[in-house]
Symmetry: C2
Subunit: 552 residues, 2 copies
């Protein structure tokens, strides 16, 4: 068998059964080998950022990596932003990047570039160029072991065309599943002492600590000790909703996060980093841990978060305690004439089906989503882990392929959606059960907020034009139809509710374009910096009220 | 003034007056500074690949760089493919990549990544992270001097947010225009001797040697010496058409390029590299220079190609010779019921307006374009210099902004168009005179050819599905309308001619979606490898005939 065939067999034997592809000439032997392996599903994407974002979404839900198939350095470049999201989310991805034949590379043909250099940005843990057909399958297994270790990583295997097409390929048996260690006894003992000390303790849960089993253990610990549970601001995958223990997400706005963390004397990290602000702002601190608050680590991303939390619960003697769970509570049907982002979020909470996967890249429009879905049926939430926008539509593809029987809801701002809008075509081609909601507010709304926050308030018309998407207005209904996805444009609460009810009960992909005003507009936007700055000095109940009004 | 203001003034003083942008929070001070400089035009793009491809197209036509404004490593990653095309085309581009504040970077926030590493892929000549507000403008001038040197380069200046927002910025006076040396006397003497020896000589012209002045000198030399003039396969900018000396482009298919070069004893490179095949193929040579053919260099990309050609013409005493120029000759109006890619190309030759800029990324559908436009009115042709598809629509934006009074025609395959389809929105927003023609053949047609050429003929249904774009079919008319560009779908030769006539005479952007069958389909496709392989052994007239039928 040739290299590509050996690689294909090795991957499928190891359980890698989905490949998100955007191939070119140098990948044609891998493409030809697809027909040798009925277990390998190849999902064609029209742009590499869709393929990498789909692999990210797939692995978040399947708990194993998909492969991507990319075309040289430029294909990898196009896929970089969503690989960045995967890297920051500790999500396993196996990139197979085709390259020129080994003897062709020194000739500096048109597509020649330094692929390894680009790859190191997202694959610090594994970048290798295969050099021999006979050892290609072992290269793939090595890459796979890095990818699916703890933490999950993006691993990049560069595959020269001649290594792929030459005979002498040999499949390699599937490697053992990696096992992550749990927290050590010393850590455990000191945390037990801390939790029994009566000090004010918060937990910051991230990564694997946001799945239900881990949340149950954490909720037991919190119920027993009075500790507060926070989730990192952008969870890779957070299980939540009715019947699941609740956890409060850290706010995106540093000013609000400071309010959330105020007064805690100890912060315990569980598969998470000490929180920092998303961006830096003139004259403001980037570190969000309050002065005097001591940071501890129950377990690092290299360790097993769920098992570590269970051990802690056992050590506290609360592993059989019935933990508090979120009550079932849906918001009412939104009413009125005018559609707003808040009403869209309310309608989603009103209708969210059982066992849904919600991919949230709604940015400012999604501010009220957590509140309205807190008591909706149990669902998984996937978010923008690395801040590289253009994640939601591709993530939704991967999630729908990993979980074909679960409804997927992708919530996306208009600006974000345009980075990887080509994803709609793959949804149509594969007949995926994805309902995409576009919040079309004709602006990069979050940048209007940020423009003030960085102290550049006196923006003139040219600056403001850089944040405006209204001339011409985007018509996502037409865009969706151009890629074979049925779409509806709505501008009333009732219209949105009807469209959501209908699309959730109809198989295949659908898009709902919700025409909404910016969530933080006019006076609210102008006042925001002032309000936020004064939160610190306000009486607690007032600050809490404003926080609820303004924050996720 | 702050760093961003000093930077803005320095750039505009140096003649950099266009910036293609896709900003985020870390770029907000640069955005705010736009209103301080009326000379700086900021062109918003919805995806970074559009911004970088527009900067490429702009510089090809303006002969000076534009700036790009990109958001951290992920923004640069999204822009990488079209920067690759610029790098390979020796096109000057100045990237300004915003970064976290210097003190924020070590905190590894969500968007933190190693930007310099990514940048080195496309900016080997200049990557620098600014560290001080006071020296930022000098950093920009240093970057600019590398970018607009000879050869043109992509230079990347990474701009941390605090370096941008801090006070203490100082503008720097515009640097002197770089001057490139001409070829030396020894080279000149040996080439004069060669050209007077009666040997069979071909010139391979690339880069700056494909502008009219250089072509006139080359044509004088050729007319005098009997040398043959070739252009590199993917010219950065080739001036051609009626009244311009003709040059034969090297073929994309190595098999055809070998036929073109057969029998030449000497190949003289002028701002070009010795030709190699685009990809490697099993059992075939990648170098295209025939055995025994000696390669010479008149001037390297570091030297002034036009001046070097003039010197050579002077040394031969032919610098006053009237060179042969292409006669004016348009094809007739295409007829018949069925629209084909060939008929679209014919219609373009029939109607091409005076002084047009043609951006060609039509891949297989454009095979007949060179033939049908050889005698059309004088025009500039921009092509896919680096092979990274998704170049034409962004290039067209840049060309139209550099040359607002020239009609721009972007010819794009359906597969290629989808990589940077967001470009249509910027065309509408800026009201650019661009007519986009999409060859919609519902396939990655070139890959059907390549699949056979790499020896993977026995492709099964899964492999073939990877090259198929028909399920669902893309509707580019809907996509264009979704982004504010008026569009027409045509399926007859007469329909296409009418649409082209109308759109060329109506200001603003338009899109024509031509529904065509694959150019190399069915029997033709099946026979192609065999035909190409036998070309070498065929009698010259037959080979010439087949070459004309199959090649650009």
């Amino acid at each position: 068998m040739n290299g590509a065939q050996a690689l294909m067999q090795t991957l499928t034997d190891a359980g890698i059964e989905v490949c998100f592809t955007n191939p070119g000439t140098s990948e044609m032997h891998f493409v030809a080998a697809l027909d040798d392996q009925p277990r390998m599903r190849a999902v064609l994407c029209l742009f590499e950022g869709v393929a990498t974002g789909a692999a990210d979404g797939y692995a978040r839900m399947a708990d194993k990596p998909a492969a991507t198939l990319l075309h040289l350095g430029c294909g990898l470049g196009n896929g970089l932003a969503n690989l960045h999201n995967a890297r920051k989310g500790k999500v396993p991805v196996l990139n197979i990047v085709g390259d020129h034949a080994t003897y062709h590379a020194p000739l500096d043909a048109q597509l020649q570039s330094d692929i390894e250099t680009v790859a190191r940005n997202v694959s610090p843990g594994f970048v290798r160029t295969a050099t021999q057909t006979g050892t290609l399958a072992q290269d793939a297994v090595d890459a796979l072991q890095v990818a699916r270790g703890r933490p999950g990583q993006v691993a990049t295997l560069i595959l020269p065309a001649d290594v792929s097409w030459s005979d002498g390929g040999q499949a390699v048996a599937p490697p053992p599943a990696p096992v992550a260690p749990v927290c050590d006894d010393t850590t455990l003992e000191s945390l037990v002492a801390l939790l029994q000390s009566g000090a004010r303790v918060a937990f910051l849960l991230g990564g694997q600590a946001l799945r239900e089993a881990a949340l149950v253990s954490a909720a037991r610990i919190a119920a027993h000790s009075g500790a507060k549970l926070f989730s990192e601001v952008f969870p890779t995958r957070l299980t939540r909703g009715a019947g699941v223990p609740a956890v409060e997400r850290m706010a995106y706005l540093a000013e609000l996060a400071s309010v959330q963390l105020r007064g805690f004397e100890h912060l315990v990290l569980v598969d998470a980093k000490a929180p920092v602000s998303f961006f830096a702002y003139p004259g403001k601190k980037s570190e969000l841990v309050p002065p005097g608050c001591q940071v501890h680590t129950l377990c690092s991303p290299e360790q097993d978060a769920a098992a570590s939390l269970t051990r802690l619960a056992q050590a506290l003697g609360v592993d059989a305690l019935t933990p508090p769970r979120s009550p079932a509570l849906r918001p009412s049907r939104p009413r009125g004439r005018k559609l707003t982002a808040e009403k869209v979020c309310k309608a989603i909470g009103h209708l969210l089906p059982e066992n849904a996967i919600v991919v949230d890249e709604a940015i400012t429009s999604g501010l009220m989503l957590p509140k309205f879905t807190a008591g909706a049926p149990r669902h998984d939430l996937l978010t923008l882990t690395g801040g590289a926008i253009g994640q939601a539509l591709p993530n939704a593809i991967g999630a729908a392929i990993a979980c074909p029987n679960r409804p997927v809801l992708a919530l996306v701002g208009d600006g974000s959606a345009m980075y990887t809008i080509q994803a709609l075509w793959t949804m149509a081609r594969e007949g995926l059960n994805v309902v995409t909601v576009i919040f079309n507010n004709a602006a990069y709304s979050v940048l209007n907020v940020e423009l003030s926050r960085v102290g550049a308030q006196e923006a003139g018309p040219k600056a403001k034009a850089q944040l405006d998407l209204s001339a011409p207005g985007l018509n996502f209904t037409a865009l969706a139809q151009g890629m074979g996805v049925p779409a509806t444009r709505v501008q009333s609460p009732e219209g949105f509710v009807q469209a959501l009810e209908r699309t959730l009960s109809t198989p295949g992909p659908h898009l709902i374009e919700a025409l909404v005003p910016p969530s933080l507009s006019g006076l609210k936007l102008k006042l925001l910096p002032t309000v936020l700055e004064s939160l610190e000095g306000l009486p607690a109940p007032v600050a809490r009220f404003l926080k609820r009004k303004l924050a996720p």
